[in-house]
Amino acid sequence: MSIDTAPAASATALDATSGAATRRDILHRLLMTIGPILAALVIAGCILLAVGVDPLAYYGYVLEKGLFSPLGIQQTLTRMAPLLFLAAGLIVAFRAGMWNLGGDGQFLLGAVTAAASAPVLVQILPAWLALFCSFLIAMLVAIIWSLVPALLRAYQGVNEIITTLMMTFLGTSLANVLVKLVFRDPGTTVPQTRTLPVEDRLPRLFETTITSGLLLGLAAIIIVHLVMTRTAFGLKLRIVGANPRAAVHAGLGVPGLTIAVFAISAGLAGLAGAVDIIGVQGNVRADWNPAYGLAVIPAVFLARMNGFAAIGFVFLLSVLSIGGESAARRLGVPNHFTLVLVSIVLIVLALAEYVDHRYHQSRKA
């Protein structure tokens, strides 16, 4: 998480003497992440105490189930796959200064179309080609879904926060309509899509239950990070994000870049949906909406839109959500407590960063 202040820091790091400084910086960053998380756990623990639950027992379960038990850590790593894709999509959008808050709609439509196409395609195509096609379809559908906000922002200047929020409400409902009316599995009484047989899903890694989608997600976020920090295209997007007017004066085709940003961001959200379905779930039930998008947005911010830092935060989110789910079952605390915990962690991390920033400023002055 040392490359947070991305281009400037990596440029100065070429200096041979700064090796120790970089290491100190990494240590500092780690402390600044772990300290606030511990503080957040204490605050959330007070809430648990207030409702009469032993916080130590709760956290014990979260750690055991989310991190230390073999099955738990495998579930955690599996949960990371869709979150990484979503984070990658948000990094592109946010660095280019576009508030794509429609991730959940794009995610669900990607998930539903992947769930609808994969079981059909595996019967007529070789398995790898079928899955590849489903990924492609999910991505295209999500891109098409983002086209309206993209065009409105690019050519009419309509604020994308409104349009993407609207499209996400529309997308959630449309996904439900598709599951209930169009892609419904006639063989079951509960409304859901046809189930992709386990042997046709994405292979699992080695002898574990971890989905290979994790590797795809890691690849996606690292590629996005490198494209945004090391290529001309990424630089153009960051200029649009930093100052759209200056970008026009610099001769950049801002409308075209805007549409590209939305397409990449939504495409990755669609892939997130596909990777969750083809890798893990196998089908989409009606009214299924994990709402990952909303939790990933602040995590990406806290990572300062840095891909590697985002991997760390996504891991943290996964541990909390997987651990929280099983702790909820054991201790009778509703799963909703995980939301409280995640929220407190986010707020305390943001606060700590502010305090740290202030401290450095006053030392400089």
């Binding site: 508030w99 409104i162 929020l165 609207m166 529309l170 602040p298 995640v342 943001a350």
Partner: protein, 311 residues
Amino acid sequence: MTGLFSEVFLSALLFGAVTAAIPLLLAGLGEQMSEKAGVLNIGIEGMMLAGAYLGFVGAFYSGSLWLGFLTGAAGGIAVALIMALLCVRIGLNQIVIGIALTLGLEGLTALLHHFQFSRSYPRLPAADATVIPLLSDIPIIGPAFFKHHLIVYLAVALVFGMGYLYRRTQLGLNLQAAGDKPAALDVAGIDVIRTRTIAVLTTGALAGLGGAYLANVGAGLFIPFITNGAGFLGIVLAMLARGRPIWVLFGALLFGVCLSLTTAMQVAGINIPTDVIQMLPFLAVMIMLVLFGRRASLPAALGIPYERGAR
């Protein structure tokens, strides 16, 4: 017979539309004030939930709806206080904190409800309506618009109050300056931080009130996640209204009609999945945006924390 049925049906539909519109109206008016003052308040969904839960608890244990509205508004203000401290006073990122607050309150209200009521969902008695004489005797329109709880009329009056505030008062001008050119406001000797704090706290009160109305009058009970995106709809309304309170009212009524249509169609036994009807209001707004979407007139300093002397 069918004529009578459709008349009753129509007025029930409109009555439901007003009931559904009031929380959106209150949230939209609140968000509008925040945005005018330069604070993009994404935590409004959390403020509504706090208002809904505390408002319900207040009304349930005291037996008084008005006390419920009071506790609801207090709940909204409590959440807004966190937002004001973190985003206005020390200038943390408004979107991060807003989303974090929404997530946290979603979890917290569900958690508190679980430990307070377990799996039971007690109901409040139906709210008494304030019947406006004469006007309520008009067929269809009368029972639809003039037989509501008193707070409904107050909420509509608030629309005009807000209009007056923004156009005719010093505070209204300060609020808008805090969002458009905070540095100028600072130079004029008005505290930007204080002005923005007032806006955020008012937003909290209105959102909390909206949440309390949603739970106590609209539904008559509290269930976890009861707001179901109403706060986000408030954000959309505020942005579409381009700073004019009256447009928040129109927008809220449009959404209200669509929401009420969902229930009405189910009651009438028309067999369309609710998801299709739920899409209607959003579809309507998207079409409006595609047709009339010119450059939105958002305040220049929206979302940017103010720091004196910063460039």
